[in-house]
Amino acid sequence: MTTATRERMAPTFTPGRLAWLGFLAIALTVGALAFYEVFSRGLIVTNLSDSVPWGLWITIDLSAIALGAGAFTLSAVVYLFRLKRFQPIVRLAVLLGVIGYTTALLTLIADIGRPDRFWHPWVYWNVHSVLWEITWCITIYLAIMLVEFAPVIAELRPLLRWPVVGRAAHAIHRLAPALALAGLLISLLHQSSLGATYGVLKARPIWFKPSMPIMFIVSAVAVGPAVTMAVALILEWITGKRNLPHDLLRTIARFAGLGLLVYTYVKLWDLAAVTYYGRTPGSSSAFSLLNEYTAYNFGLWFGEIGLGIVIPVLMFLVPRFNRNPANLVLGGLLAALGLVINRWNVTVSGLIVPLTYSPGVGVQLLPGSYTPSLTEWGVAIGVVGYALLALTLGVWLLPLFKTQPAAHSSGQFDPQGRR
């Protein structure tokens, strides 16, 4: 314990680190200016409209939460299924989860018209709304992650002076399986409900389908751990310290590859059902409109499937590729990119297709159009800057890769106790 603490000195400021901090400072400044613009002038500064009321920011919310899915997946693997050898990566996974969820909440604050009323879903309940359920789940799960993460904070040197902190952290650590179970339940709920947000809208021809929540949860479970794995490898390159055994990371990559294949299966069946076997006039005209007005097919086949699935699956599953960490990082980043493209496609495409409800047949509403405004990009840069800063500080200041601190180890997690 003592040695571990002594290694963790205050970070020294090398030129590289200063440059990185400077870069983050610029991103955060841009973000702060954009947030100010949004709060002072309202959402008129966006390019959103009444026909396309959701856009880039909602895409960021959905993506950040899905990319944070490594937290619940790996926590469950370690604490529920007791695959103890994955324990060294859990702290990083939970940190990424906390960062993802807080990034989403931060973006939502900009996106809702009345940020001063962000607390309303907790007070005024509409239990029939998936968005209400999502708000609750996200809040509760963020709290769970913070509790899960508390023992890591408790190991900070200034806190070691008070033994009560250590004892509290120890008590929390004993709760880990319960927290992992609660996290798994709540994540399975809201990760899929985010898809249901679109899937339940019966008036929208290309959204309304029961496969939407399934595709959201499966893609999150596949890509979340892959992102955690890729971040671990990138950190290894930057810090020069091998914190995690590579065969562990490769196992995670394999899991992610298999997850992506499951996702592909559901996705291709969904595509076949919607565009071919179960084609309706509504969905047909919706897809032809989308391809006329946007690069929908290109985004789907090249972005989502080519970059986001095919290459990562090859990198993760083919032995001669997945032995090279660079390929795993490439696969992880591309899978994340594919997921972001997917969330963008889902959000914006459904809104571009105009509603038809008139008893006539004349074209009465034009397809919506949407390109994010500079302010929207500014907020996006700001929240990404926040995420990177949080990750940087976490890596510098927190004992992320200590497996089982001596003071905290107990018979609780010893598999011999039950086998």
Binding site: R41, G42, L43, I44, T46, L48, D50, S51, P53, W54, A76, L80, F81, R82, L83, R85, I112, G113, R114, R117, F118, H120, P121, Y124, W125, N126, V127, H128, S129, L131, W132, E133, T135, L181, L184, L185, I186, L188, L189, V200, L201, K202, A203, R204, H246, R250, T251, R254, P319, R323, L351, L355, Y357, S358, P359, G360, V361, G362, Q364, L365
Partner: protein
């Protein structure tokens, strides 16, 4: 590391597998139990919230305010739109009432107009995370501007494009005032969603004064009053003698996208020659 065949060890026992399956099923079960099941603490709450009462598409109150729009007589003058936007002080590019030229399958041209349809199973009401929009006892779909958080999910969910978000603080002068009417309600604040109210302020005040909405002009929506050809008729759908009920009884009518089961309160007399 090179060339070493890596073995994947997944120490997954049968018990673990059962646990995983149980967790997955459990989460669905928890969602069901918490939101709907007979033991749900929210069961009654949900019953009250899910729009609409009995299966006949009418609310539980003693009135059900509804409208008939006759697409055969509408001449597309847009008076309804102007009177509405003046009376409710609506922004000039965000009309609650829209009027559009359209044509039937056999090429006959007509004008289509649309207020909020006040659905009894309103998709907007079902998705709102904070119950800022709700179906009133008399069938009106209302907005609580003080509760709305501006997430715009209702706007995305509405099948009829009837909702508008207020993107900026309004400072404009309403050019339709006073020619087409005088604002009878406050402007809504920035950052909330608004929509047609069937001029609820006129209905409520009229009822309090003993008037009959749909018969007495003071208690009737502005769009209905101003229509020069009487294409819009308003009244109580639960009262068989109300003007609106009589028009529905005497004409073939349709409601928009009835297949969605929204049970809207606005009936249309389709244009001549429509399929």
């Amino acid at each position: 590391m090179a060339k070493k065949k890596t073995r994947v060890e997944l120490e997954l026992t049968r018990r673990d597998f059962v646990k995983l399956a149980a967790t997955a099923a459990g989460s669905a079960l928890v969602a069901q139990a918490v939101t709907t099941g007979p033991l749900s603490p929210f069961g009654e709450l949900k019953q009250r919230q899910v729009a609409g009462g009995p299966a006949d598409g009418h609310p539980q109150g003693e009135h059900h305010w509804g409208m008939v729009i006759n697409l055969q007589t509408c001449i597309g003058c847009e008076y309804c739109q102007r009177a509405c936007s003046a009376t409710n002080d609506v922004a000039s590019d965000k009309h609650w009432n829209i009027v559009l030229p359209d044509e039937t399958a056999n090429g006959r041209r007509f004008f289509f107009s649309r207020p909020c349809l006040h659905c009894q199973h309103a998709p907007c009401v079902e998705v709102c995370p904070v119950q800022a929009t709700f179906v009133r006892e008399d069938g009106l779909v209302m907005m609580d501007y003080d509760r709305c958080i501006g997430c715009r999910y209702c706007e995305v969910a509405c099948p009829y494009d009837a909702r508008k978000f207020i993107w900026e603080e309004r400072t404009d002068e309403n050019a339709l005032v006073p020619t087409w009417g005088v604002p009878q309600v406050e402007r809504r604040p920035r950052g909330v969603v608004e929509k047609c109210t069937f001029c609820v302020h006129r209905i409520d005040a009229g009822l309090a004064a003993g008037l009959v909405p749909g018969v007495d002009r003071e208690a009737t929506p502005a769009c209905v009053n101003i229509c020069p050809v009487g294409a819009r008729v308003f009244g109580d759908l639960l009262d068989p003698n109300s003007p609106v009920s009589q028009v529905i009884a005497a004409n073939p009518t349709l409601r928009l996208r009835e297949e969605l089961g929204t049970e809207s309160s606005v009936y249309y007399i389709p244009p001549e020659g429509a399929a």
